[in-house]
């Protein structure tokens, strides 16, 4: 007679650091040699780097130039304006994090950025007297937003509007509204720079997203005029390096609009170039996602009576975008770093600000210069933001993976 076999627990794998080391690093004589040699090389390099960072390096110039790194020539007495924008952004992000709750993507991102602001606050207290009380205010605003979001979940409904309003207000606050010398006086965009400029240019990814989606959909259109326009746009833009488009934008845009080159701010020209360049790549990423959605999906939607537009927006696009999140985040990270190319059209972004620090007279007085110190500092900041984006995207992928096998 048939008797089912009772399930048994799986054998417990032998664990522990020794087992792990033996299995992964010392599994054969060759691997043992390899482990020892690479380990020695890595340890030696790290030791040298650590020695430099903690003993040989002169960080004084980095700390002394925090303002230049952060905003370049933005007037020192108006620093409260970008910091107020930062406080508002952290307040809103904190609100999202509070509504999302501990462990959500927004909360993790929020706390990482709060950590960054906290470090900056300490740096400001010690090295940057003029804003030593303003930086901690950004921190406080963030927590205030977080607590508000925790205690009042209905904030979620207001947040999208608040973001939009703050976006507009932020631009007005940054550029100023009144002539003369008051608190809200106009700061010409040629004085914007440093990390502030890097972030402003990076927001080009926001308009490039809908543009890219539109181009991708247009490329699949049945109307030849739309289809070939989109193909031509995508292929031409992708056919030349960003650095060339930055040049072209700074020379061609005034010509196309028939205005004097000086009446169009350089930042605006660079912004347009970056946005359109990013949109072309976005379009190809999205197109890849559109192709990954099986035909049966749109057939089922059409058979149910949904219109072509509804089918695209409700069925095809959500699945297509989900499939290409890693590619889109990869593109965002790339764009974040590529903004450093704007030095070629005379803008001073974060990277270029570092460059300028290294050639200051005070820097040249330091024996051996401060190039390595400055570029290490710049690299760490870039890394922090790029890595945070990567972490957030992985969490997003995991969350959206719900139910999709």
């Amino acid at each position: 007679m048939f008797v089912p076999i009772e399930p048994r627990p799986a054998p417990v794998p032998t664990k522990g650091p020794v087992v792990w080391l033996k299995k992964n690093l010392f599994s054969s004589p060759f691997n043992t040699v390899l482990t020892i040699v690479t380990g020695a090389v890595v340890a030696f390099s790290l030791y040298n780097l650590a020695w430099f960072v903690f003993f040989d390096a002169s960080w004084g110039q980095v700390w002394a130039n925090m303002k230049l790194f952060a905003v370049y020539r933005y007037p020192a007495d108006l620093l409260w304006r970008p910091l107020a924008i930062a406080a508002g952004l952290m307040f809103l992000l904190g609100g999202m994090a509070g509504v999302g709750g501990r462990g959500s993507i927004t909360a993790n991102t929020f706390f990482a950025l709060q950590g960054f602001v906290a470090v900056l606050s300490v740096v400001a207290v010690v090295f940057w007297p003029s804003v030593r009380f303003l930086w901690p205010m950004v921190l406080v605003a963030g927590y205030a937003g977080y607590l508000l979001g925790r205690s009042w979940p209905r904030l979620a409904k207001l947040l999208p509007w608040a973001w939009a309003v703050w976006f507009v207000l932020g631009i007005m606050l940054l550029s100023g509204v009144t002539p003369g010398s008051g608190l809200l006086r106009v700061v010409p965009s040629r004085d914007w720079g440093g990390f502030l400029l890097t972030l402003v240019l990076f927001t080009g990814i926001i308009p490039s997203f809908p543009l890219g989606v539109a181009l991708a959909l247009g490329r699949n259109s049945k109307l030849p005029a739309i289809k070939y326009f989109c193909i031509a746009f995508i292929e031409i833009v992708r056919g030349a390096p960003l650095i060339m488009w930055l040049f072209i934008a700074s020379l061609l845009l005034p010509l196309l609009l028939n205005t004097d080159a000086n009446s169009l701010p350089a930042i605006l020209r660079a912004y347009v170039a970056i946005t359109l360049f990013s949109a072309a790549y976005m379009a190809e990423n999205v197109r890849g996602g559109l192709q990954a959605v099986p035909r049966g999906q749109s057939e089922a939607a059409r058979a149910l009576g949904l219109s072509a537009w509804q089918t695209t927006m409700l069925i095809v696009l959500p699945q297509a975008l989900r499939a290409v999140i890693p590619a889109i985040v990869g593109q965002a990270i790339g764009l974040f770093k590529d903004t450093s190319l704007v030095f070629i059209v005379g803008l001073v972004d974060f990277f270029r600000a570092g460059d300028l620090v290294t050639v200051q007279p005070q820097s040249l007085l330091v024996t051996g210069g401060v190039k390595l110190e400055v570029y290490l500092f710049v690299a760490v900041i870039y890394f922090f933001f790029a890595y945070r984006m990567s972490v957030a995207s992985r969490q997003l992928e995991r969350q959206l993976g719900v139910g999709v096998r």
């Binding site: 099986p294 059409r302 149910l304 009576g305 699945q319 139910g403």
Partner: protein, 260 residues
Amino acid sequence: MTEATTGSIVRADAPPGGEKIIEIEGLNKWFGDFHVLRDIYMSVNKGEVVVVIGPSGSGKSTLIRCINRLEEHQEGRIVVDGVELTDDVRAIDLVRRETGMVFQQFNLFPHLTVLENITLAPIRVRKMKKSEAEEQAMYFLTKVGIPEQARKYPGQLSGGQQQRVAIARSLTMGPKVMLFDEPTSALDPEVIGEVLDVMVNLAKEGMTMIVVTHEMGFAREVGDRVVFMDAGQIVEVGTPEHFFQAPREQRTRAFLSKIL
């Protein structure tokens, strides 16, 4: 102009006296150079269950996909519930709202829950209130026997459950005709029965159905007519009993000997 027809045309006309809901006259369709549907004449009465059988590549799926315009036809007329299918988008939308379709691969929307899958079209197309649509969705989910799965995603369901959700999804639009395109072909043998049960109940309630399937047991139980297709044409038409007992054409006998 195409060349004149040389072979014989077998008409699959609905029995007289009924109220015709689908009429297909002289339907021809090509995929590129390939003549996939050749001179199809077919009509279906309200409440009839027509089973379409035939070897793969015979055009049976293409035929029912023409009825809700998932495929365009080049020649002939297709009239569904008084509306002729042309390039007119409004006519197409009208017909699609009156016909439900169930696919071999289910084609549930994987990013939406079962409930969202079912309420999507009523809310977006029929402009139904969400609460009302959900109530209706639960009614149909109960009808297909899986109300407890409403909050899950399609990927968490078995094939048989997914196909039953797909049927419920079509039914919420209140279709006058249901088209089934090999609804059990992608299912494990163990769960085919649960899907067929749902379809049998639907047939017994008087739904007009065109079913492309090889499930002859289903045809025998509720089928009014069986249409056998091969190489893009209708070869033989008759009652299920006719096909079981005395198929006329050699081609039909050869096919049936393989699937029975």
